[in-house]
Amino acid sequence: MKLRRDHVAGGFFVIAGAAILAISSDLPFGTLASPGAGMLPMLLLGLLMVLGAVLFVHAGESPPLAAIDWSDIRHALPVIVVACVAAAAYTALGFLAAMSLMLFFLVFVVERRPLLPAIAFSIGATVLAYAVFAVLLKSPLPRGILGF
């Protein structure tokens, strides 16, 4: 049997449904007159597993797994890693530092744009955004250990 796209998709939802069901045992189903915290989740998990199984059974109609184009992972991976690092540094470094560093990394390192425009862009854009959010809209943005 050739592994097809919906084998993976359907299989995932069946397994995920079962796994979540396993950790939901502490949630009481309750009775009809006083439904418990677990009623809706369990009904939904059951439905999800059935639907996943249907998808799995009909997987023959879907394209083979190997046909999926993964070429964009070379773009997606660095971008998400940089974004995650920026999010981790967001409250510690503060908005201005974390966001201008993120912009700089994405433009200069990931996208290999010229250095000077990259610096100007990353600082200019963050300062402008800061002006709009923090000053004009009076919404507090995190200030970092450096005090800005």
């Binding site: 923090a134 000053v135 004009l136 009076k138 507090p140 200030r143 450096l146 005090g147 800005f148």
Partner: protein, 324 residues
């Protein structure tokens, strides 16, 4: 505050932000002060915090920023308030339900995240007695008629609330326990939906703040049976208190300002004085009056006494509800 003042306020924010961190010992407050609002915008703490901030800003000469940290019926905001740096720049606006969280955690055997000892009370601004209301499709004119009907058919009448252990659930639990009644509980996700359920006769009774129910009381859609105050409310002079009717229950929807434990005394003193001045401001009084309540300001010592007694009531109510 008019537009010019707003622009000036924004400029002050910008200047304060540009000035950067304050290393030296300076006069408090020397930069914007944040009030945590633990409920969604428009909630009980927010509608007090915003007018208060408007009158406080010219007094402390710093912007007051209101930061919404809603979640878990006010628990998330309270926890942030308890964990905030105790430098007086992050204060918490909270309501009566602040005393219930620790008791709920104990009841369910969960680790207690914070207790009332984690906060220093600064001031109480309003305290609106709760009132028990029924809709106009019900025949009850007095509390006695209501309790008789509820006793005749246990678990038939339904009361709505703002959610489990919410500020509208706790007083009803105290009353049901005192009167020995059994009613079905219809929890909703806020004060508005709880009122909607009552008006649509999907629930028959509700404990509401007078402010929220007043419009409907005047239009005749709702009837007030009893009030939870120590004395009759000036807004509802014909409604008897629970005490008059023989139930020893008091319950208020109050809003107060808190600082995290460990905040220096001089900082607390500054905020106490500023709060006193703000609470006496006519603009603040007018805003509260429009909301349907009077400023019920209490300075720290009296607020502390009140809060200790109030916490006992809230804990009793949580235990009366019990584990569900």
């Amino acid at each position: 505050m008019d537009r010019r003042e707003f622009v000036a306020g924004s400029a002050a924010t910008a200047a304060a932000l540009a000035a950067g961190p304050v290393w030296a010992q300076e006069v408090y407050p020397s930069r914007p002060v944040t009030f945590i609002n633990p409920f969604p915008p428009g909630g009980a703490a927010d509608v007090v915090a915003r007018p208060l901030a408007a009158v406080l800003e010219p007094i402390v000469k710093q912007p007051i920023v209101i930061e919404t940290k809603a979640g878990a019926a006010g628990q998330v905001g309270a926890q942030f308030g308890a964990a905030a740096k105790s430098d007086g720049y992050t204060l918490l606006m909270h309501i009566v339900s602040i005393s219930g969280f620790a008791e709920v955690d104990r009841l369910y055997g969960r680790p207690v995240k914070f207790t009332n000892d984690d906060f220093i009370p600064i001031a109480r601004f309003i305290a609106d007695p709760m009132v028990i209301v029924v809709n106009d499709q019900q025949p009850f004119k007095t509390l006695k008629e209501f309790t008789d009907a509820a006793k005749a058919k246990p678990n038939d009448l339904i009361f709505s609330s703002s959610g489990l252990h919410g500020a509208l659930h706790l007083p009803m639990a105290l009353f049901l326990k005192a009167a020995g009644l059994e009613l079905k509980h219809l929890p909703t996700n806020g004060g508005g939906p709880a009122l909607t359920a009552l008006l649509g006769n999907n629930a028959q009774a509700l404990c509401s703040s007078i402010a929220a129910a007043n419009v409907h009381l005047r239009s005749g859609k709702l009837r007030a049976l009893a009030c939870f105050g120590a004395q009759r409310s000036p807004a509802l002079p014909d409604v008897p208190t629970m005490k008059e009717l023989g139930y020893d229950i008091e319950f208020y929807l109050w809003v107060g300002l808190f600082a995290p434990k460990g905040t220096p005394d001089n900082v607390i003193t500054v905020m106490r004085q500023a709060s006193k001045q703000a609470a006496a401001d006519a603009k603040f009084a007018q805003a509260m009056k429009n909301l349907g309540q009077d400023v019920a300001y209490l300075d720290q010592p009296e607020f502390k006494t009140f809060w200790d007694a109030d916490a006992k009531r809230v804990q009793d109510a949580v235990r009366a509800i019990g584990k569900i």
